[in-house]
């Protein structure tokens, strides 16, 4: 590891520690007296929530890196591609059919529907050997429309569970328990380590399938493996936090601007970057309209959507339109 990278890691780790302290101790309820009630809020509400922020942020950011490499498209992100929505559809179905009592019930169904969404997007957006930006984005948007329509109908039919399902579509970290954090952490840790191991191959995939093949990469197998792993990671997060958009778009882009194009660096830095982005979003979500809480998904979208527009504008300039 170069000295410069090491310094970056130290700085990022210090920022994360600082944000964790702010996220744990500041909120709509003042816990500075540390009464029993305050301790309960700290240990059973704020700390698990802060931990979940870090796990979800780092996971979604790394998933963004992975999707961008597989689709060879810098605008790919689990939310924009509709994968998160696909996972939330699974979560909604699991609730309606009463499978949410199983430990992995929601995660498993979310994973299956998210995987189905990825498969449909791939089929829709592939023109010859390439997946064009326009078709990929349109496929993602169409899937998002379709899935939100299905979820609306599910909510209309099953009004009893409406609030639970609504939560999944908006993204929220309230009510997170240590058990949720642990389950998501296990999926994320394995997934992030796995994707980091494949970082070099992801670099080569970014040059195109044929180039990757000529450099000894088994393209189809690698893409399939990465897609399954990153979709499972996305589903694990969405099944606990609901749909939180744009983390996988914003974080890898900013990281890329700082450390360059090599995924071997982008992935570990995105882990840290994702944590910072989500912690900041959560602090804003909890404090901006205190004592009410804004959905964290709307905060990340408030940052992510203009960022997405900026990237589209840049892409347009590159094409001289």
């Amino acid at each position: 590891m170069k000295a410069k990278d090491f310094i970056y890691y130290i700085i990022l780790a210090l920022i994360i520690v600082g944000l964790c302290i702010i996220a744990s101790f500041f909120g709509s309820v003042d816990i500075s007296n540390m009464t029993d009630a305050d301790k309960y809020i700290l240990y059973h509400i704020r700390i698990p929530r802060t931990l979940m922020c870090m796990v979800a942020g780092s996971t979604l950011a790394v998933c963004g890196c992975a999707y961008q490499a597989v689709f060879k498209n810098p605008l790919s992100d689990p939310y924009i591609l509709g994968v998160s929505s696909g996972a939330s559809l699974g979560a909604s179905l699991a609730i309606v059919f009463g499978l949410d009592f199983l430990i992995f019930g929601v995660t498993l169904i979310s994973f299956l529907t998210a995987l189905l969404t990825v498969f449909i997007i791939m089929k829709l957006s592939q023109v010859g050997n390439r997946m064009h930006t326009t078709t990929l984005l349109l496929a993602g948007i169409s899937m998002n429309f379709l899935i939100s329509a299905i979820i609306s109908i599910i909510m209309f039919i099953d009004q009893e569970d409406m609030h639970k399902i609504y939560f999944w579509t908006m993204g929220s970290l309230s009510g997170i328990k240590y058990r949720d954090v642990l389950i998501t952490f296990c999926f994320s840790l394995v997934g992030i380590v796995f994707i980091r191991l494949y970082a070099k191959r992801l670099n080569v995939l970014l040059l195109g399938d044929m180039q990757a093949n000529s450099l000894g990469v088994n393209v189809e197998k690698t893409k399939r493996t990465i897609l399954i792993i990153s979709t499972l990671m996305t589903a694990a997060v969405v099944s606990c936090t609901g749909v939180i958009g744009f983390v996988g778009l914003v974080v890898p882009h900013i990281v890329r601007l700082i450390v360059g194009g090599d995924n071997r660096k982008i992935i570990p830095f995105s882990v840290f970057g994702g944590m910072i982005f989500m912690l900041l979003a959560d602090i804003i979500a909890r404090n901006a309209a205190a004592p009410s809480e804004l959905p964290i998904g709307s905060i990340t979208s408030l940052v992510g959507a203009p960022f997405f527009i900026y990237l589209l504008y840049n892409a347009k300039k590159k094409l001289h339109f």
Binding site: Q68, K72, N73, P74, L197, Y198, K200, R201, N203, V204, L206, L207, G208, M210, Q211, N213, S214, L215, G216, V217, N218, R256, G260, G261, D262
Partner: protein, 254 residues
């Protein structure tokens, strides 16, 4: 010694025959140009040789071993490829691109070692791209970019180098620069080069042998001077061709 032998190669997409009954052998350390009209099957032939596509019948032998028995990694250790289009939306430095040429020799967890960096430096110096090593690939001109990808091919240290229209988008100066570079690589490294070219003047001047395809069939395969005659070119491209001056310029009489 022949490094590459193609025996009765045929390839179909659905019911459409793209290549049929292709037979040729390429001696080691030579440059062979593949010429022919658009859609004649040139690129498909390169993809078959590079093991990206699998032939329907016949066999391709690389050092007397059927190419289909090579794994993707083994193929990449023996055959490198330079493409016409190297566009990417992601920015890598020129050195990072050339370092990718070492991938076929690395295990999943293996980082680039000193030897890899040394081989990359040699490849970049030979292609005169070392001074560009920190530049982003998308900031380079077409000629510079193509030299970087040829450097990557060199870093791959393969016996056979395939190039698919590597000079198609370049101006005349850079076309000649790339062809001279390839000739130099062929001679210095004893690399066998198989290159798809549209410019017959370049094929005539720089290649040892020429393989001419028409409608998926092999019309000619012989030394460049034997294949690229006025009559053969007229047959191949359905024009009235002439070779003017010192067999360098080919024009249409009409």
């Amino acid at each position: 010694m022949d490094i590459l032998t193609c025996k009765n190669i045929s390839y179909k997409v659905k019911d459409k025959t793209i290549l049929s009954d292709i037979n040729f052998s390429v001696p080691q350390g030579t440059m062979t140009s593949i010429v022919g009209m658009n859609g004649s099957g040139k690129t498909t032939l390169l993809k078959l040789v590079s093991n990206i596509l699998k032939s329907d019948s016949g066999e391709i032998l690389l050092e007397n071993k059927n190419i289909k028995s090579y794994s993707v990694k083994e193929t990449a250790q023996n055959i490198s490829m330079v493409f016409q289009n190297n566009e990417t939306d992601f920015d890598f430095s020129a050195q990072q691109i050339v370092l990718m040429g070492r991938m076929p020799y690395q295990k999943l967890l293996q980082a680039d070692n000193k030897d890899d960096f040394l081989i990359v430096e040699q490849a970049m110096r030979q292609t005169n791209t070392w001074q560009l090593k920190d530049r982003l690939i998308n900031s380079l001109s077409g000629g510079e970019k193509q030299r970087v990808f040829i450097a990557r091919s060199l870093a791959q240290q393969t016996k056979l180098m395939l190039l698919d229209e590597p000079v198609a988008n370049l101006d005349l100066k850079h076309q000649i620069e790339i062809m001279k570079l390839l000739k130099q690589i062929q001679k210095q490294n004893n690399t066998t080069i198989l290159i798809v070219l549209h410019d017959l003047s370049l094929a005539l001047k720089y290649s040892d042998n020429v393989l001419a395809l028409k409608n998926g069939q092999m019309c000619f395969f012989d030394s460049a001077k034997t294949v690229l005659t006025q009559e053969n070119i007229s047959t191949l491209f359905e024009i009235n061709a002439s070779i003017v001056g010192n067999h360098n310029v080919i024009i249409d009489n009409n």
